[in-house]
């Protein structure tokens, strides 16, 4: 029951943050959402069984497999969070704000209308095979040595 409440609160707060406009808030929202999923995974292995999984120890032990799943999921969630924060930072550098619908850039005014999204995408087509059309030049490219 406690686990269910924790998952519910984390998922609700995460959903609220993911629906915000700024990418940093979205990243934090995903942190909470992935924690909700992690708690759910742990709960799948049985929270009531707290014994130590060693021979001769008292009481039944929890299932270790979901704990291994959770460790994996935490690592993946960590990587995704790092990427989202990098994306937010890069967006802040390019657009002057981590809010994708505000800020500068070539096709901003068309930003939040789904029907117009393709026009905004057009800017991407203009970079040549060597990627030389990117604003900002070499020092800001993430692949600069």
């Amino acid at each position: 029951m406690t686990a269910a409440a924790i998952v519910g609160v984390l998922a609700a707060a995460g959903t609220y943050l993911v629906l915000q406009r700024g990418l940093v808030r979205v990243a934090l929202g995903f942190v909470l959402l992935s924690h909700a999923a992690n708690v759910l995974l742990i709960a799948a292995g049985g929270l009531g069984r707290r014994g130590v999984p060693i021979e001769g120890s008292p009481g039944p032990a929890a299932d270790p497999l979901p704990q291994a799943f959770t460790l994996t999921a935490i690592v993946i969630g960590f990587g995704m969070t790092a990427f989202l924060l990098a994306l937010a930072f890069r967006t802040g550098v390019e657009l002057g704000d981590d809010d994708l619908e505000a800020g500068g850039g070539a096709a901003t005014e068309l930003g939040d209308d789904d029907l117009e999204a393709g026009e905004g995408v057009g800017a991407a087509e203009l970079d040549g095979p060597d990627g030389s059309a990117e604003p900002g030049g070499a020092p800001r490219r993430e692949d600069a040595p």
């Binding site: 994306l87 393709g118 800017a123 800001r140």
Partner: protein, 504 residues
């Protein structure tokens, strides 16, 4: 044969490491990347050959008992998907090399990681490992999509990353529910469990819903047309061949094993399929850029694949597998054509293009063949795929969804003719000539500013032409591919051999 199952994972990951070490030497990176793709292709073809009679190969890692070990398994479906994936990676790498996209230091490493993730997703026998491999592929795709960091790509990247991340979180939550309900995540042990237990069925449906986002089924398709046209054309082509298909493959696998013919989800799947076909193709009507139009068609075609899953049975699944295999080839060819046009002309907007057929006849032929195949015109592969699918649908008395499928084929043809008329026929608008010459928006260093040499032009067109020829061959020799698809579908519809191989 079992040792061969580790190669499609090990080779791309090793190649990814090597290409990072060979940073700054594009030629060496190309050789390593292509060698990895070709080696996996050879391995996959060997697996297709070995599984042609319905044999299933499994390789358990680490010597644990079957229940706990990580198992890689190749049934005919997985082997076929592996082969077509390796082929697409090879072709897209050649195109990227011709376009110069692969000169970014980490391009090859990212493609190889994406490739490894896709291979792992096809080969795994475990739903949690499926999640892990899908994530491996996705995180590489996030970076590939935003590579370059232009505002348009960052916007597309934000939509793409957040949607897929949300779907992944839902996926892992579904895995938790499934483990809680069934006590296992092994496909072999999950086989048919949803028929007996309502809890497992709910968890399975939760996972299918998460996978539907990744496969871009209506109504959760909005991210795909907004993000796929943004990266460089080689990356779009690669994504079209690998990523959404991975979602569809996972849906096939989960639905066919966990639900094993249970008909509860049949109606929702067919309804979603019909809506996806229709809304995808209608979304394409208003678009004015080649890759935008093609991206919406991608949504539409996913509808056909899910329709096959909904129709189910050996007939429906054979049609679905045949459809998926030939469709990956056709769609990648179309995106490569669009990429070649954009490289030659400097734009993909229909209004600014025209009369390309006169200047690039081979490219026009490749596009024409692939477009007709997508619409389903005989004798191309798309025709046989749709024929088999419609036969299966009528055989299962799904007349309504079959009618939608036929209607959408006409609309697809209409859309392809629109691209053909806008890009390859007619005359090039005078204003557009001025634009691409550098007056309005074309950046310096753009491909249009410096016309590609004859040799480079050939290298840009050849990949698309080769895939179009393959579609024609798959149409003329449909019997071979059809036999393989039927064999794969038989094992998918009755997982007894799969279960036996995994738990042995």
């Amino acid at each position: 044969m079992s040792w061969a199952l580790t190669l499609p994972l090990a080779l791309p990951l090793a190649a990814a490491a090597l290409t990072v070490l060979a940073r700054g030497r594009p030629a060496a990176q190309r050789v390593v990347a292509l060698a990895s793709a070709l080696a996996v292709l050879a391995c996959a073809v060997a697996l297709v050959w070995a599984t042609r009679d319905g044999e299933v190969f499994a390789a358990g890692m680490g010597g644990w008992p079957p229940r706990f070990r990580i198992t890689l398994v190749a049934d005919p479906f997985a082997a076929l998907m592996l082969a077509v994936t390796a082929l697409m990676v090879t072709v897209c790498l050649l195109f990227a090399a011709a376009r110069g996209d692969d000169e970014r230091p980490y391009f090859h490493a990212l493609v190889q990681v994406l490739f490894a993730g896709a291979c792992g997703a096809y080969l795994t026998a475990d739903i949690f490992d499926l999640f892990v491999f899908v994530e491996v592929a996705l995180i590489a795709s996030y970076v590939l999509l935003t590579l370059g960091g232009t505002p348009a790509r960052l916007r597309a990247g934000a939509v793409y990353v957040t949607t897929n991340l949300l779907a992944s979180t839902a996926f892992v939550a579904g895995v938790a529910l499934l483990y809680g309900a069934a006590g296992t995540v092994n496909f072999a042990e999950l086989a048919g469990r949803a028929r007996d237990s309502g809890e497992v069925a709910v968890a399975g449906a939760f996972i299918l819903a998460a996978l539907a986002v990744k496969a871009s089924l209506v109504p959760v398709h909005g991210w795909l047309p907004r993000s796929y046209p943004a990266p460089s054309p080689a990356v779009t082509a690669l994504f079209s061949g690998l990523l959404t298909k991975m979602g569809v493959y996972a849906m096939f696998r989960v639905y066919c094993t966990v639900f094993e013919g249970d008909a509860t989800l049949r109606t929702p799947l067919l309804a979603a399929a019909a809506l996806t076909m229709l809304l995808g193709v209608l979304g394409a009507v208003g678009r004015e850029r080649m890759r935008d139009i093609l991206s919406f068609h991608m949504v539409s075609q996913v509808g056909y694949l899910v329709m096959a899953l909904g129709v189910s049975g050996v007939a429906g699944l054979s049609a679905g597998i045949f459809f998926m295999l030939q469709y990956i080839v056709v769609k990648t060819s179309l995106f490569l054509c669009a990429g070649a046009v954009e490289t030659f002309e400097g734009t993909g907007a229909l209004k600014e293009l025209g009369a390309v057929a006169g200047r690039r006849p081979v490219l026009a032929a490749a596009f024409g063949v692939s477009a007709l195949s997508l619409a389903g015109v005989p004798p191309l592969s798309g025709f046989f795929a749709k024929l088999a699918l419609l036969q299966a649908a009528f055989g299962a008395d799904d007349h309504a969804v079959a009618a939608v499928a036929v209607g959408v084929s006409f609309l697809t043809l209409f859309s392809m003719v629109k691209i053909w008329n806008g890009v390859f026929w007619g005359e090039r608008p005078a204003a557009a000539t001025a634009t691409t010459a550098g007056a309005g928006g074309a950046a310096p260093g753009d491909a249009a500013a410096a016309p590609p040499t004859r040799r480079r032009a050939g290298a840009l067109v050849a990949p698309a032409a080769a895939l179009a020829a393959l579609s024609l061959a798959a149409g003329l020799g449909a019997e071979v591919l059809w036999a393989l698809s039927q064999n794969a579908a038989a094992l998918l519809a009755d997982p007894a051999a799969y279960v036996e191989a995994v738990l042995r």
